[in-house]
Amino acid sequence: MNQPPTTDEFVKGLWRDNPVFVQVLGMCPALAVSNTAINALAMGLATSFVLLMSGISVSLLRRFIPREARIVCYICIIASFVTVVDYAIAAISLELYRSLGAFIALIVVNCLILGRAEAFASKNTVGRSVLDALGMGVGFTVALLSIGIVREILGSNSLFGIALFPDGFQTWTVMVLPSGGFFAMALWLLVVNRIKERQALKEPAQ
């Protein structure tokens, strides 16, 4: 139970157990606020912050929290950090705050965070929990960003708010609408699963 932290705790969230593309967790923000790269990045970072802080707290308090009351305590901790993020974003940029809308508050119910608290942080040392949360957070952010980039380029002809093609590019309105989130997500799943399939064929011995 008290193994030393290994790099694998960090790396697994990036690819092998990527929260969005492999575990398919936290779909609500992944689909809803990935309409531009900026929104996706902000959402990814906000979620990662909550993931990291709640991971540290849960891991620190794991001997203090009795089994029977753990869900209440986890949710309380997660909700507090989400509130912190909520205020922080409003203080940083009101415009970003408006475009993320209700989805900041909904980080509370992102099953990725509660899932990591329950499955990992509550059983492991702070060091390992930090690595795990960072890996999952980076994996989540990268996944959101890759969806957001596709949607913003096709839907708004820009990337991080900077116009891309000079003039006359036909924007695909559907990509900034909610359905575009599903299409972009499906395309990435296709790519990721294809690569995973290839890898599995190459190393059958594992």
Binding site: Q170, W172, T173, L177
Partner: protein
């Protein structure tokens, strides 16, 4: 019944078939659609011909490629994807850029058909899936209508038709509004004759109500289409419109206008009757038709858009398995209710 063997055939049901296989029915649907296509080309010229050809080719090519990729026997030969392509082309605005036509065609077959498992498994009419995607992706281009019977329609192509892929199309000056848009936003009703003979603007294949109805009659006469669905749709629309028109004549159009305008005739005859995505039982077809008719009236009268046939049919497609479950024919020899 036509082929009786001298030998005892042992196999699972069905034992009695009508002799019509998928490709025979589908070929006849293509025949029935030919006059509609011909009129579309007459009315909108070379642009409409290119839209129809591109739509059909993109659908057929996608089917061929996907069959190859999935190592399945090619299903191009049974004509079903050809019909999807033609129907899809008939629902598009005639001056739509060809690259958008191709994008929608690929989407129609790949997502509308193959994602659900190919022929016989599609939950929605693939042609309408393709159109709905274009409507969501390129709303400007999909609500841009060329005037019918333009002078140079056979010689010149509209500027937009040959727009390069991913480039926003430019438009020629001569455009117009569809009869439904005129009705909704300005309260002008087109005359019955104009609508029936297709002298109005609209999607390539939706304008001439008479030819569409004739094609439908041919299929019904050859017993290749369940006539209950279109009749149910048209009756529902007519009755509801009559009712609203009687209550408030100033605000709602007359029934004939509703029946002959927009995509209702094309949708009722060729789209809603998609064999895979519509209910199996006759009673189910009546219910399904009535649902489409109701949705069409609701969307056209109280929705934000002037036309709603596409969404009405897609929504009804979604519930048709439930209609089938609701109206299950009684198994012979059992009492109704329990199975």
């Amino acid at each position: 019944m036509s082929r009786m063997s001298r030998y005892l055939e042992i196999g699972s049901s069905p034992h009695v078939t009508s002799g019509a296989s998928v490709d025979v029915i589908m070929r006849n649907v293509v025949y029935a659609l030919l006059p509609v296509c011909a009129f579309a080309i007459y009315s909108f010229g070379a642009a409409a011909a290119l839209v129809l050809v591109t739509a059909t080719l993109s659908c057929v090519a996608t089917e061929q490629v996907l069959c190859r990729l999935l190592s399945r026997p090619s299903t191009v030969g049974d004509w079903s994807v050809t019909i999807t392509g033609i129907l899809y082309g008939l629902t598009l605005p005639p001056d739509l850029p060809l690259w958008m036509v191709a994008v929608g065609g690929v989407f129609a077959v790949a997502v509308g058909k193959f994602l659900f498992g190919g022929l016989g498994s599609n939950a929605f009419n693939p042609a309408l899936v393709g159109r709905a995607f274009l409507q969501a992706a390129f709303p400007q281009a999909m609500t841009h209508w060329a005037a019918p019977l333009g002078d140079a329609r056979f010689m010149d192509l509209p500027q937009s038709t040959l727009a390069l892929p991913f480039v926003e199309p430019g438009y020629d000056a001569v455009t117009t509004a569809t009869p439904l848009a005129l009705m909704k936003f300005e309260g002008i009703q087109a005359a019955n004759q104009e609508l029936m003979y297709g002298l109005t603007a609209g999607s390539t294949g939706e304008t001439c109500a008479v030819l569409i109805a004739l094609g439908g009659l041919y299929l019904v006469a050859r017993n290749m289409m369940n006539w209950r669905t279109p009749i149910s749709i048209l009756t529902t629309v007519a009755i509801l419109t009559l009712l609203m028109n009687w209550l408030e004549p100033g605000d709602y159009p007359r029934p004939a206008f509703m029946l002959f305008s927009g995509g209702l005739m094309l949708g009722a005859v060729y789209m809603a009757t998609d064999m895979v995505a519509s209910p199996i039982t006759n009673a189910g077809c009546w219910l399904y038709g009535a649902l489409i008719g109701l949705l069409v009236v609701v969307i056209r009268f109280w929705g934000g858009m002037p036309e709603g046939v596409m969404y009405a049919i897609l929504l009804a497609n979604a519930v048709s398995p439930h209609i089938d479950r609701l109206i299950q024919p009684r198994v012979f020899g059992t009492r109704g209710g329990k199975t």
